[in-house]
Amino acid sequence: MKFEQPAALWGLASLLLLILFSLWRQAAARVTVPSLLLWKKIPERNPPVRALRRPRWRLELLFQALTIAAVVAALAGPYRETEQFAPRRIALVFDTSPRMQAGDRIARMKAFAKNIQDTFGSADQVTSYWWAATPKHFPGSGAVSGLDVHVDLKPMLLAASASAEHVILFSDRPVDGPKLALFGAPADNAGIVELSVSDDEVFIRIVNHGPARPLPIDLVAGDLRVNEIVPAGQRVWSHKADYSKASSVRVTLETKDSFPLDDVVEATKMGPADALVTLAGRHHEALVRVFRSIPGVTVQHGRAPARVAVGFDEEPGPGDWQVWIHSPGVPLTGVPTVAKHPLMADLANRGGNWSRRNSANCPPAPAPGSR
């Protein structure tokens, strides 16, 4: 056993003082005698020194000594050295959203997780969290696989934080709360993590995981094109102009790094909320009324190419029903496309709300009839 403050052990010397003090100030033991007649005639005297050689141990003295010893021990901070780590509770949170399927990030994420787990102690409790299409038992992080649906990390991080002291997040996007490094990005990665566009200003927030360096930036908004260089170390960039006429704003960070996923961001002005809803299969009058009550929605029966489909791929039976919601003005080419959307066409007239879309991460439009 060692002590953080060995000097505090000198406080044990006060035990000696306590004992000496108690010897000199021994409380008289109470003894009942038949009569004091003779004892009163015997003069009182101070105890001789030799009488103090044998201390009369009392419970009070014992408690005082124990109290002093406990205080001194607490001040000294005893500890025991060991080669083993204290058991830790660690949670690994994997982002299995479709974005992580780009490249070999899932495989790299799993390999990196395995390397981390190899450094854990045998007594550490490791729990893995990731979204799965169906509930099932997973033996470990090796079973992590990507999904085709959006993954909300916050519930997983909340659950992980509740069950572990240490949370390690494997993701390519920042999340409030845990400290994380952008996974999948090499050490020299720089990218755009926030884009905000209004009628008169474009604002971006830049993250640079590599060395500080000037970053060329390219902005395209309709006919307007801006090329500037963000100084080294600067984390934000903005540009003021009239963007009210632009249907979309695209900002490109020309970093030429090995992770281009976060180098391009684009915002598209929302158009009017017109949509064509095609229903097939069993007819639900209430459903038809619901769709028709939405402004800009046209309801028709039959089958049609769908932007969003709810139903089955197979031919619907008499009890099945299918709903396709699509915009007739959007060409469905099957390749990533950002086009003027009718739903966004009139957005400027309705207050200029803009949405952010990472064009490189845009999933392909589903083929008609696909899930």
Binding site: A28, R30, V31, P34, L36, I42, P47
Partner: protein
């Protein structure tokens, strides 16, 4: 209170020793020198003025020509009063005092004295104690004599008195040492003393003086005095010490 049979037989052979003439009013088994109505003639003595004429032995006067009066013995009952100190200071030797008192009561009761044994047995330690008034007969006081206030009470006794001074081994040789708060068992008064060998020797010396003072005080007033330890066997006290002290014979 139980005595074995052998001890009871030894008690039967004992009787109270009374030095003075007994002045009990009732007639009993004990003979006194007082002239009385008994038919037991003892002696003649010369007539003195004031003697009754009927006591004159006229036959002797006819032969000798001198006046003599006859003397007869009178049997009187013995009045015995036993007082056992019940003060709190008697705690370590109270049972011994009760047994000693019971033994003396058994001896006394054989001589027509009536000391009820249950009274001795039911004595309560800690009850206030005063020496009872005994106008005549024999008074036996068993006490530790720590109360100097007993002296005036003993002096008021007109009866023949025997004082049995009982001390416990702890009083004779106090097993005390170190710094002590000594508390009086009766008054709860306390004093603080360091007790070492020096103090124990002083105590022994003071105790001896205390006992000698009581002994002298009793002898000066024609009282029997006996000091005994409560650790001494009762049989030895009764058979030896009380006989040597003249309390029993």
């Amino acid at each position: 209170m139980v005595f074995d049979e052998g001890f009871l037989r030894k008690l039967e052979a004992l009787r109270l020793a009374v030095r003075r003439s007994i002045s009990g009013r009732r007639e009993g088994e004990r003979l006194t020198k007082r002239r009385g109505g008994s038919a037991d003639f003892t002696s003649h003595r010369s007539y003195t003025q004031g003697d009754e004429f009927r006591a004159i032995d006229w036959n002797l006067y006819g032969r000798l020509g001198m006046l003599y009066v006859k003397e007869f013995t009178r049997e009187e009952s013995l009045t015995v009063r036993l007082a056992i100190d019940t003060s709190a200071s008697m705690a370590p030797k109270f049972e011994f005092a009760q047994r000693l008192g019971a033994a003396l009561a058994l001896v006394a009761n054989r001589e027509a004295a009536s000391i009820p044994l249950p009274e001795i047995e039911n004595l309560q330690l800690g009850a206030p104690f005063t020496v009872p008034t005994v106008p005549r007969g024999l008074a036996i006081v068993v006490s530790d004599l720590w109360d100097e206030g007993m002296k005036p009470q003993l002096m008021k006794l007109r009866a023949e008195t025997a004082v049995i001074h009982v001390l416990s081994p702890g009083e004779l040789e106090p097993p005390l040492s170190g710094k002590l708060r000594l508390v009086d068992a009766e008054t709860r008064e306390s004093v603080v003393r360091f007790v070492g060998e020096e103090e124990r020797a002083a105590y022994r010396r003071l105790l001896a003086d205390h006992c000698d003072a009581w002994k002298k005080w009793c002898f000066d007033r024609e009282m029997n005095y006996l000091r005994c330890s409560s650790s001494t066997p009762l049989e030895e006290i009764v058979q030896v010490y009380l006989r040597e002290a003249g309390v029993l014979e």
